[in-house]
Symmetry: C2
Subunit: 207 residues, 2 copies
């Protein structure tokens, strides 16, 4: 039907449609036919670019989700400035779309997929683990930097704290999915900010 061809564009179209479908109904309920229907791409084209449904899903993690984490978290968290403010600002800016997208809470795409697939598909598990690793390291790095420059206390472990922060954030996002559409409770995020505030090194008022 198309007179002009653009393999890269075709591939990207499929990838984005797949990401959307997966985000909406999960990977296993994602229908190849529905992805094709929403894009106008044909089955032949899909199976030319990807070995199968799994490979398509893997590519979504490797390319789209990893990219999003880099752009939305790793880069912002690497910015100079007061670690606590950068941390809170980044969460505030990004958590909104993770916790509540539009009027429905759809959760974090990465965490949703992890909960669904990690324990039953090693291919997904390792890929998702890698992306979480990037994310977690970004948290750990900013905390460690804060400790080194003296603005943060040194009586906590950046690695473990990073895992705790990320876990709590994902937990808050996933609990929000269960709220009635109208009343998504973001108050748990406030407690997370309070928790982060306590990392600040108290002014040494010693003589």
């Amino acid at each position: 039907m198309n007179t002009t061809r653009d393999p890269d564009e075709t591939r990207r179209t499929l990838l984005e449609a797949a990401a959307k479908e997966i985000y909406e109904v999960g990977f296993r309920s994602a229908s190849v036919d529905r992805i094709l229907g929403s894009t106008g791409v044909t089955k032949g084209a899909l199976y030319h670019h990807f070995k199968g449904k799994s490979e398509l899903g893997y590519a979504v993690v490797d390319e789209l989700l990893a990219h999003d984490v880099l752009e939305r978290w790793v880069k912002p968290l690497a910015k100079k400035g007061d670690p606590i403010e950068v941390l809170k600002a980044t969460i505030r800016a990004q958590a909104a779309c993770v916790v509540a997208d539009g009027n429905h809470a759809k959760g974090c795409p990465l965490n949703n997929l992890s909960v669904e697939m990690s324990q039953i598909d090693e291919g997904f598990r390792t890929r998702i683990e890698l992306v979480f690793r990037l994310w977690r390291d970004a948290f750990a790095n900013i905390l460690r930097r804060g400790q080194q420059q003296g603005t943060l206390r040194v009586d906590f472990d950046p690695e473990r704290t990073a895992l705790f922060l990320l876990s709590s954030l994902e937990g808050i996002a996933s609990m929000a999915k269960n709220s009635p559409a109208s009343e998504i409770d973001l108050s748990a995020l406030e407690l997370l900010y309070d928790y982060i505030d306590r990392f600040r090194q108290p002014k040494t008022q010693a003589a």
Copy 2:
């Protein structure tokens, strides 16, 4: 084939097999035929007791998962004693099987189901919300009790803190699913205990 019949037993058998299947592969990938195969119950019997697969899943939430939360969380948290110790002990006792069952982390059955189904099936959403409500209230109650009897500080809101605790706990459980089977990291739980410790009312050393 069986000469003796026991409708309640049949129903219960189906319910438990369904819960197991759902826990292992999720609701949508749960196969009615597989549930029947593992139990020896026939399709006619299943559709006699339940209107369909969805109703079966709903019953698992209403009856089994709700019951588990009551037994494992609500009752233990209602015990008398130092709130902080009761809280930590309950989490310590239950989190193990939620976070890591055997050598694989399978996550929390309720949270897994919520992440999978809440946003696409209102029937599941409302039922799961109810069970989370019980759970969250149990946390809120013990915190409020602690405040009233003076062992806990009063500068935090029990309701919101309960949501934060539950969210973090679920987040930790769900992140654990993504770890390689051998090295499940429970260190985030330690930070949760530290967080809880800080609710304690400092001894009034005033004159």
